[in-house]
Structures are given as C-alpha cells and as structure tokens.
C-alpha cells in the first residue's frame, strides 16, 4: 500500500519536500509509517518526538491502521493565532 505523506513547517524544511509517497506493507499502522520515514529521512528524527499525526485531516493515535491512498500529515507543534499565543501566555 501507498500513503501520501504531507509535511509542514519545520518538518517540510528538514526533509526538503512538502509531500512524499511512502510504500508500506498491508496492515501498517501510523507507528510503522513513522519508523519507515525516520529510516528514509534521518533528519526527521529530531522533530518527530514533538509531532502529531493526522490521517485524512483527523488527528489519530500511533496505533491507527493505514489504508492505501490515505493522506497522512505530520503536524509539528502549531503556532497559529495571535502573537502571544505561542510565546508563554505570561498572564
């Protein structure tokens, strides 16, 4: 099976691509995909611990089973919204 993997922000820059196609055995999980990706793109290893995963635009657990054609997104820590949202919320 093939998964389409989308990369954003710092992960996109580390890999140097915004989209990859990863071939996996049938019945692979998100955890299997992550392991395969870390193998193919060692640069991901750094950021991967802070990364969430979405399948077809829904956040999922690592144990989630993947299916052929799934769109998998690696989501590094988000930082949208207003400026102080990310920088400590000191109040």
């Amino acid at each position: 099976m093939k998964a389409r993997v989308r990369l954003f922000a710092i992960l996109r820059e580390k890999v140097g691509a915004s989209e990859l196609t990863i071939v996996l055995p049938e019945h692979s999980t998100v955890a299997d995909l992550m392991k395969e990706m870390a193998h193919q793109y060692p640069a991901l290893l750094d950021g991967i611990a802070h990364t969430m995963v979405a399948v077809n635009t829904e956040y999922v657990q690592q144990s989630q089973l993947l299916h052929d054609g799934d769109e998998v997104a690696l989501i590094p820590p988000v930082s949208g919204g207003a400026p102080d949202i990310q920088t400590g919320d000191t109040i």
């Binding site: 922000a9 590094p76 820590p77 988000v78 930082s79 919204g81």
Partner: protein
C-alpha cells in the same frame, strides 16, 4: 464564516458577517504581528497552513461555540503567507444578544485556535529565522484529547 486566505484580512467586513439586528454585543479579536519576540526584533513573519484540516477544525470550534453558548454568529479568519509587522493575522468576531456571552465565546475561540489548528508561524530576524513553538513545548507523538 470560516476563512483561510493569503490576502489581507478586512476586520470590518468580517465583523459585519455576524452583526444581526437582534445582536446587541459584538466582540472582535484581532491578532496582529508584533515587532519583537522576547526582546528580539522581528522583521516579518510567514504563516503556513494545512488548509483543508485547518478549515475543518475552525468549523468545529464554531460548532463548539454553538453547543456551549447557543451562539451561531461567529466568524473566524486566519491569514497565511508572508505578513509584515502590524498586519492582522487573525480575526475572530462573535455576536450575541448579551455581551458577556460574546466576550466569553470570542476568548474561547482564540484560546482554542492555539491548541489544534494546523497553522505554523515562522519569525524572521536580522540574523536568523525560527519556527515558533518548537522550543519549550515538547509534545510526544500522540493525540489531543
């Protein structure tokens, strides 16, 4: 109204989308790019979005407002791409017959946006650039709630 766009946001037009004749209170939040972060001068910023998913989660947040406060007049607009200092990155407008609900719901939306919405900000300095949120927020590979 949920809007993700590369174009400049028009806060007045976005506020107008929630302004009905039965609504006495309208609270609008503008998030604007600041000229410094932790004392370091910022030159400009770039926001990147996973558009399909961000729109979906913003719509879900609007739904939460409806369930929690019965408020349906809410609009959320987030800009992405390059923004100069002082430009508006986020507009949240909430209208309600009663003002206390409008304040609470607007603040809830702004708070929620930082949690799950796949939008990322990169700050550009004189001598470097950084993706915001990669330091100090270690988050193991897992699922929110």
């Amino acid at each position: 109204m949920i809007l993700l766009t590369r174009k400049p946001l028009d806060p007045d037009a976005i506020t107008a989308t929630v302004h009905g004749d039965a609504n006495g209170g309208i609270v609008t939040f503008l998030g604007a790019t600041r000229n410094e972060t932790a004392g370091r001068r910022v030159l400009y910023l770039e926001y990147e979005a996973y558009e399909d998913m961000a729109e979906k989660i913003l719509a879900r947040i609007a739904q939460e407002i409806k369930e929690r406060w019965g408020i349906t007049d809410v609009s959320i607009a987030h800009r992405f791409g390059r923004l100069e200092i002082g430009e508006v990155s986020l507009v949240v407008a909430v209208a309600s017959p009663h003002r206390a609900e409008a304040f609470a719901a607007c603040q809830y939306v702004v708070d929620r946006i930082k949690q799950d919405v796949p939008i990322w900000k990169k700050e550009f300095f004189e001598n470097g650039e950084v993706w915001v949120g990669m330091e100090g927020h270690p988050r193991p590979l897992s699922v929110p709630r």
